[in-house]
Symmetry: D2
Subunit: 342 residues, 4 copies
């Protein structure tokens, strides 16, 4: 059993912990955070299913006042695991790295850290092999992770020359009060980092894109224009995407009208927190212009990176050294793809 | 075991079904709806934990096309139960009533129906005894249900002469595409129906109020100004509310900043769909002006009425004829109040 | 002096009336509407600068009760003008057409009508000559009008083979209560009508696109990916667009962060209603991928079509038969392009 | 002619400058700001109707690069005026005060400064006489200014014992990108400062209240529960408020549904920037509970304080020493009350 710890018990950290707990070949040793946040208070109300470690010893008093039991410091946690998933706020992961190095432990960093923190910039489906055995991997961000799922899927089938993306970015997560937009769209300097990151992971593809922030919380939507080397029909595309365990092809006609429908559906499914690991691809959004393919996907920003993080543990720890074997184990334990109609 | 059916498997109907399924002294026979909505599709993807009945036989083809198994018509369901929970869209319940009468079955209607549909306008905590043994009960709406919890709690302690409320109403549920406001507040004609409904349930209290719609989805907020007969200190108020199994006293200082924090907390708790049955009362919002008490509460519109619906079954079916015994059974099966610090 | 009437005094109709009033070679005879709406009440409070006609004689009593003076019926207005601008709600224009035909008057319809209502589908810059002398013209919708300005500008310089657009659509206008989205993005069936409409106006260009609705009110944003026949540098592009009297090139670095900044800027300029006739092009959004050009534009949905409507009057009435002469007269009277740095 | 300068050319500063420019007995000498903001760029595009002074000499290069002519420093401006309106961001006014003292000039500060910056906490209608002849006045904030208009109006007619308010606060101004909320309501610690400020201005009234932030931009809405000493009927209330030059009584039935309707109406009126100086009171929101009066008002946050600032200049400079004469002059030049039906 690979022993795993999680640093940062926020939006991503909680879901990483749940993801690890679901992998039958991993053991979640504990999670660490700096203060009795709402998520930590919820952990306590649930009866501490996960041990909590304190990343900021100066704050011990705050945990005590809130009656939250602490199992040690972040440094203690690191010593008890084989690998850390670091979901600290951007920039903190780079600081934590010193602790991981001190105890010669492996670690997976999230998209908010700079690429230099890691040996490999990693995506489970696109470049699994590159991560095998490395000490430090960095995952792509939520948008890039979801986007690459679709582009890699296409690329392996028909070869992709170039993509141009428009990211309609949700500006905050549900529950965020520290950031937000009100009745405004905000344009970012182009090209978006997601396009650049895609080229780092898939260097044979030309990519560019524009990102626009929108005042919503339940998922980004990306439109993708892809130029394939080989022509592919709309029907073949639907079939191709439908077989991918981390992509759901959904229909507007069935009621999947946008990001909020998908969030509602995930809640109605009974998924914990109303989360969805899969990106969704709107079937009626697929259009062709000559050979070019255009379509829209939904990125559930809170949970989408969890499967690729599990893949990263598998690669770094050499639990599976083959790409398809690695992602298949993750998929099995997260229940991904079981809804695919055979 | 009391056999229960649910008509209408939408936002409320789904949660009613889950609520009944959690009551160990009730059996959920099935749920009925008119079409393969997203919620019905989710039911199918979950493997049909509840039997589905078709409320609109003309739509049988739609269910067949979606591969959704049907266990009969609404009329079939009615014959197999002791009591129906009717969560159909407003006005449909009144039509369904003919079926309930035909088979001499009891039924509980929701706030969207007109009062005339029922024998008793019901609230579990405030007038349980009035519902005992009656054939048709109508529940108060989500805002009124939550509001009365707080006002009834106060009233039983210190006597309430009058209340004035301001309802800051969420305009849509998460996932709604058929209604919504964008960057606008909308004022309703006063007095709001919630104030009038409160007086129907609690006729000894004078109530008035104004409702303003706001473009958010995760819960209404109501400010309540209450004039008690007997003075009560802020500390006593906090203690009083803290002991109520369906009210959570939360602190801004702990991170509970508003409706979105509560939704996030419920998701982090692992509550199905991120639901919360309890209203929340913001401790730092409590102020006094002379004897008058003012405070703000959060109403989680999707789930708040579920406990009182369970109470209504208990009253109508005479499962418990005493108010406190009835609500206690509901609370026990829904896990309400177990977080209260003894 | 060409005599002009406006049918429908709503969001577009008011601005058409103001636009006509600003053309020194046109006379605004009056405007018509069906009820004492807020805009009609504002007209009264301003002292009736425009004569108002009643499009729905049954509603005369409502106008009387509101104390609003009426100068006749829509049919009276039609008889007193040379040409009508019809800004009635979609579908009503087609009905009004019978009146225009009865009196053998010309008319300009808006984007909400079906194409069959008119002889020519018109855009001032792109196909002015096609409208010259025709009785019935239909304008492109707001998004298409703004989009074609940019694409036509490029096409005349370097030739455009194909475009792929993503429309991030504002879902309501400021002040709308009859429609809106709350915390949701909504995907439309692709290809969007704007892409199809572009091909109708510019049949030598291949166009496709996806439209996503967003809960904001102050302007659509469109990302455009265009494949030119001839390479053009980013600097040349900026220079080209900067010289277009109906396009403003703005910089994120100067504070133009998105649609809300542009609305604020127009208000600060003192433009009536805070309107802007120009589309804006965000300079830092321009990226190239090979020869392909990608950029983002802002479409001020309330006012953007006004200049092209003035062009349409000029074309239909043969006031100018040359494209550049026609649009230049419109630009002069609307003050467009005077801010271009020579 | 009283010579006036404005420090800070932001949302409030611009409107103060326009307000002063409209007063025929005042001369606007110039406005000062720290950088070439969008509002300053708009001033330039309009041809510099107001002279601009540089409040931050280190930024002179930025103004030069933007081609914006500068007439001197803030200190230069102060020397050329009789009185300054300081609309700098909160806290900066207190620093600027040293310059005003150095040259022995009077100044009016806005609600964002601490009360200690001024000799008198001022409201034109409620305590005009207290400001007469003083060097430093501080205005109430936008919500408090509008609220006191209504409460003072009532108080002078029937005497007000106490008020309880709920402020449904717009969280950002149109064009704001530096703050915002997305799909969240946020509760503030009670009592709100507006209730406390009201008691400072009207010490004979007991006031309390709760403030909730909402994700909208076009105006706050406040519900007011007031306990009068003397009974007053709803009809008398409507008549009383209708005669106040800074209060508009509007009807839901006429289409005034909320803050967005009022913003639209102001735009349709042709008011510069779509501004409105008046608060609006929704007629159908007025309800009585015993003697208590409850109603909802709209506060147009960007412009509402302008009239009271003009009053403050009049009081401080002793242009009028009588309350009703002072406010009447302001009203005359701003066109307030001319729409009142005699």
């Amino acid at each position: 059993m690979i022993k795993v710890g999680v640093a940062g018990y926020g939006v991503i950290g909680q879901r990483l912990a749940d993801g690890v707990a679901a992998q039958k070949d991993m053991e979640l040793v504990g999670v660490a955070d700096v203060a009795p946040t709402l998520s930590v208070r919820a952990l306590k109300e649930k009866g501490m299913p996960y041990d909590l470690y304190n990343s900021l010893p100066d704050n011990q008093k705050l945990f005590d006042e809130a009656g939250i039991p602490i199992s040690g410091t972040l440094e203690d946690l690191v010593q008890r695991v084989d690998i850390m998933l670091d979901a600290s706020p951007g920039g903190i992961g780079a600081k934590n790295k010193a602790i991981y190095e001190k105890y010669n432990k492996k670690a997976i960093f999230q998209g908010g850290e700079s690429n230099s923190v890691a040996d490999v910039f990693f995506h489970g489906y696109a470049n699994y092999e590159k991560g095998v055995g490395h000490q430090f991997l960095k995952l792509t961000s939520c948008n890039t992770t979801g986007l690459i799922r679709a582009v890699d899927c296409l690329d392996r089938e028909v070869g992709i020359e170039k993509v141009a993306i428009t990211i309609i970015r949700r500006v905050a997560d549900p529950g965020d009060y520290h950031r937000g937009l009100t009745n405004a769209l905000q344009v970012d300097k182009a090209p978006s980092h997601q396009a650049l990151d895609l080229m780092t992971i898939m260097p044979h593809v030309d990519a560019t894109g524009i990102l626009v922030h929108t005042p919503v919380t339940h998922g980004h939507i990306i439109t993708v224009l892809a130029t394939p080397k080989k022509d592919i029909s709309k029907e073949q595309l639907i079939e191709l995407f439908s077989k991918h365990p981390r992509i759901r092809v959904v229909k507007l006609a069935d009621g999947f009208q946008g990001n909020a429908s998908l969030f509602r559906y995930a809640r109605d499914l009974g998924n914990p927190r109303g989360d969805m690991y899969e990106i969704a691809l709107f079937e009626e959004s697929i259009v062709k212009s000559g050979k070019d393919i255009m379509f829209a996907i939904n990125i559930p920003q809170e949970a989408v990176v969890i499967p690729e993080n599990m893949d990263a543990i598998r690669a770094a720890m050499e639990m599976q050294t083959d790409r398809l074997e690695g992602v298949a184990e993750t998929n099995k334990y997260l229940g991904l793809g079981k809804w695919i109609q055979k």
